[in-house]
Amino acid sequence: MIHVNTKVNGDDVEFLCDPRETLLDALRDKLGLTGAKEGCGTGDCGACSVTMDGRLVCSCLVLGAEAEGKEIATVEGMAEGENLHILQEKFIEHAALQCGICTPGILVATKNLLEKHPEPTETQVRYWLAGNLCRCTGYDKIIRAVMETAADLRKAS
């Protein structure tokens, strides 16, 4: 077992993990953060997306041990208290989720996109999210929610 010290959503946390366990396993099974989902375990679906030191990654493709000394952000850290992040609001408003299993990963990924590219084109959003599979929506309403959020954020700034 490896003893890992890391920071998740701003909180210092520690856990013990087998070297084979992934960051996703650690988040879900050791830290009780089940917002990140395992849809494939091979980095193909993006449902487990988190950021590590600000970089978007699939937590199923990161070992728990690799989180040592890093800063992890998950969907659970998006809202501030009872106030939802604007992306979360827009997703609800635009019916940009149906079953909701891909939603945490897509929110984490789009938040990261808008931080890096505040004025994305539709094509840019689509390619950025190509690693986040959604089987319910056909992506239409997701893309609309993201584009409108980006526009609103630009107006607000």
Partner: protein, 286 residues
Amino acid sequence: MQYHTPSSFDDAVALAKDAQGVTRFLAGGTDVLVQLRADIVTPDVLIDIKKIAGVSDITREGDGWRIGVAVTGAEMSEHDTLGKEWPGLVEAMDLIGSTQVQGRATLTGNLCNGSPAADSVPAMVAAGVTVTVTGPNGERKVAVEDIPTAPGKTSLEAGELVTAVHVPARGKSGGDAYLRFIPRTEMDIAVVGCGINLRLDGKKIVEARVALGAVAPTVLLVEEAANAIIGTELDDAALEALAEAASAACNPINDKRGTIKFRTHVAGVLAKRAAKIAYQRAEAAS
């Protein structure tokens, strides 16, 4: 499985030399972890090289570049000048996987995984990229095309690992391009890949390297294809000769991703398209 985080390449080599059973080096992990989860390869010893100083740096090396072995695709794409000099190489790396995978995947990992379909490898071969290999007997510099030997196999010996990637100087009037064919727009393994790097003198191609991926057990450097365009201004006849030479070099398999016939044909199509892009880039750099 043991997990190690050496702080120097010497330590990494020492760990690998003494390791019992299956050893894997962990950089981005986008292949190692998939193989682990799918029970394809469960290493006995996993050596994480990301804590070694300098592995995440992209630095000038003469007029060329030295790319650290843990530099991710995203870091390459975000670099100010690398992509301006070697757009084909950076685009090839950028094609691998999703945004998430780009945050982890590395050139070195893509190379050492030994897949004939690795996107960055034909681009590196076309660009004339070399790597430093460090092992128990010291260092050696190896051309990228000499690393893969068969699907999943490399020429690295026990205890050896790639410790740096060297991209040559771009020089004048040069351009490179990489294209791959996948059935979707993203998230696929190349069915065919083609990297082309060329240099012009005026309008005439004076140097060229053409590399093909996913059409043989290893990435191919196709001299006949390069010869088909060297000395030309990439007119239609040259393009046809290029396509023919590229297709002729193919020795693919039928598998779930494509047929022999399809791969052979599309190799020619992509060679033409990639050559045009590389030519335009070279013209723009003239």
